[in-house]
Symmetry: C2
Subunit: 415 residues, 2 copies
């Protein structure tokens, strides 16, 4: 067996055969640098998919912050130290008025689990409203709020879904229906949880006022509104720092994960003091690793780099150019049915036919592999897996957008 | 305001007033090194409490592994890479036959949440059995398995508890009662979850055969047995590498957290292939940060240091000496009612009266502060908070045990 085959076999043996890999055969990675990933054969790939290395793979400033703090002190929030307080202050400064306190955990799943518990403690209600095909994480509580993880499984009795937003604003009516359905079961909404980029719905552009209308209905029924910013947040929309801001709404709780620590495990829940206090009165919450010195040093470094390298501006300019280029490809390739999204989070819907909009699912998967062969990593999203997902590190430049567009043009021609 | 007061005020403002700190006034830490922690005034404290920095605060080998890997590649298990597979292999080599596969997450809470979901998927059952006063984490699902987090709250309908083990082996009868009570509610046990050191019960020495009898009863009723090794594991018992091994039992699932990455957020679930596969057939599990390159490099470094520095042996010899010294203190101080535990996880029960064994709760808290004033950090445990908890980094040497015993002798005299 060669090294690659041996590693694949060992992985299946030691980590199970059913842990999904992106490519078949999988990509054996050994190094990352900025927007580039390198495989064991020394070949480089343009990373147009991974948002976790938000300011670029192995950004030296973040690596240095982690290394320095790991060598100095790494302990827990039962003690007083500066890193976590400084980070909380820096993070809250990026949020609208009203966000007062941070709670620190280790992943987006943990952040949503905690936010969900806070919403229940604060409202005294038990019901949840999420988008159809939503994904918010994998803990038992959050899995119930993530219908796309097991599409054939019935929803939990306390969960209702809203249909994916269309071109007309149906927010008020959709929310009213979900709230009424919860009420029929004797439940009130504790929370509506939403990814403002509607990623797992296929990266959707909701109509103006959609989220504002849903928020108003949920709040009128006594529920809180939670924005899950693991996809949309941290400058990625370009026009705004947060996904919720692109909809001109202010949530009650914001959950953060994925990009927040450039890959270091970190999750944060940000909310109002009254919500945090209601939760802390109901239980004795503590996360052993949450808010540790190293994770907060990583988080602070990410915020510094975002600002110093003007990466939100970069997402706006490069994202606009990339989107224009993708729209240009629609004219050359009938399979490109739509281009959606904002900044450096863009979706390209592939269809078999522009009229019927039949999802080109197999073609999308084939395209991902053709792109990989061309040295560009992209993902896919949506219920039918037919939306090409472009969500690169925020240091993705104009030259990288040009490379991506060129490779995509050629790959589409080969479909 | 001085720096300390200013930091305290900022913490309360930005992280909430109800996030508990160990000491009043709290300890403002700035540096860690081996068994030592240093405060902002330059004073050093002997750390006889923290098990998360398992091989010592800021161990250079672990810091170096984190720094090197963070600078090279940190991505997720949708790609193939060596670090996670190598770590899974090293970890499984430390477990008995039958443990075949690892799943990687970011904390002990996540590990127990995942193990619980696996147990339900594999058994098709919904009931849980835990120890009274158990603590296994804080996600919504695991919080329900952690009665000590909200002692006044009724148990969830699917949860039953076993009384803390006494001096006579009541395992079979206690388990039978819990199983019968679940059956009355129409439920079967999916899992019995136990910390083999019974930490939150007050660090108990269960009678011979206790856990074996509980395991046998739970398995006969179709449930799985989960050992939560976040307290007891990784060589801490001295005589054995795992807590469950001290009871001569083999669980179906082992959950790991706290000490596993020396502070780097990491959690692991280890189990049999059939259990993992049943779970993965039921859903599409994936943890974004779980099993990332850096966390696994940290985990591997911890295992290397444990072996190279013979820290399990150290736990056996230093733990035995420390325990003998603590037993010696019983003769000199009537408040010391019992000394329990194994290796470097020891509990000292403080009582107002040797006959009634009335918990000396306030005295224990005062003792913790006296010890802090003497430059030694210890914790407390148990329902009444009257069990002094000694659980130092594994590099705790004979000289440190002597310092601890001397400080404790003096502090007890001042109570």
């Amino acid at each position: 067996m060669d090294d690659f085959t041996e590693l694949s076999v060992r992985r299946r043996r030691l980590m199970g055969a059913k842990l999904h890999l992106f490519y078949d055969p999988p990509l054996h990675l050994v190094r990352g640098d900025g927007v580039w990933l390198f495989d064991a054969a020394g070949r480089r790939y343009l990373d147009a998919y991974n948002n976790v290395p938000h300011v670029g793979h192995c950004h030296p400033r973040v690596v240095e912050a982690i290394a320095r703090q790991a060598g100095q002190l790494n302990t827990n929030t039962r003690y007083l130290f500066a890193q976590t307080v400084d980070y909380a202050e820096a993070l809250l400064a990026l949020l609208p008025r009203g966000f007062e306190v941070c709670a620190f955990v280790n992943s987006g799943s943990e952040a949503v689990d905690l936010a969900w518990r806070m919403a229940k403690a604060f409202t005294g209600r038990q019901g949840a409203i999420v988008m159809e095909d939503a994904y918010h994480g994998w803990t038992e509580a959050v899995d119930a709020l993530s219908p796309i993880s097991a599409p054939d499984r019935p929803l939990a009795p306390h969960v209702r879904t809203l249909p994916a937003p269309g071109t007309v604003n149906s927010g008020a009516a959709d929310a009213a229906r979900a709230i009424a359905s919860l009420a029929e079961a004797g439940l009130g909404p504790a929370a509506f949880i939403v990814d403002p980029s509607f990623c797992t719905n296929g990266i959707l552009d909701a109509p103006d006022g959609y989220l504002a209308d849903v928020f108003a209905a949920v709040r009128a029924a006594g529920g809180l509104c939670i924005a899950d910013e693991v996809q949309a947040g941290f400058g990625r929309p370009g026009s705004h720092f947060w996904g919720f801001a692109t909809h001109d709404v202010v949530p009650d709780i914001v959950t953060m994960g994925k990009p927040i620590g450039n890959g270091h495990p970190l999750g944060v829940v940000v909310t109002r003091r009254e919500i945090m206090d209601a939760f802390m009165d109901s239980t004795s919450f503590f996360s052993t690793f949450g808010g540790n010195n190293v994770a907060c040093a990583a988080g602070l470094a990410v915020l510094e780099v975002l600002q110093r390298e003007r990466l939100q501006e970069n997402a706006a300019t490069v994202g606009a150019e990339l989107k224009a280029g993708l729209i240009g490809l629609m004219e050359r390739h009938a399979v490109v049915g739509a281009v959606r999204g904002k900044g450096l989070l863009l979706g390209v819907e592939l269809v078999r036919d522009c009229g019927s909009r039949e999802p080109a699912t197999a073609e999308t998967r084939r395209l991902m592999h053709l792109m990989r062969d061309a040295g560009v990593l992209v993902g896919n999203e949506g219920r039918h897996g037919n939306v090409l997902k472009l969500r690169p590190p925020m240091v993705f430049g104009r030259e990288h957008a040009a490379l991506l567009l060129d490779a995509l043009d050629r790959a589409l021609a080969r479909l």
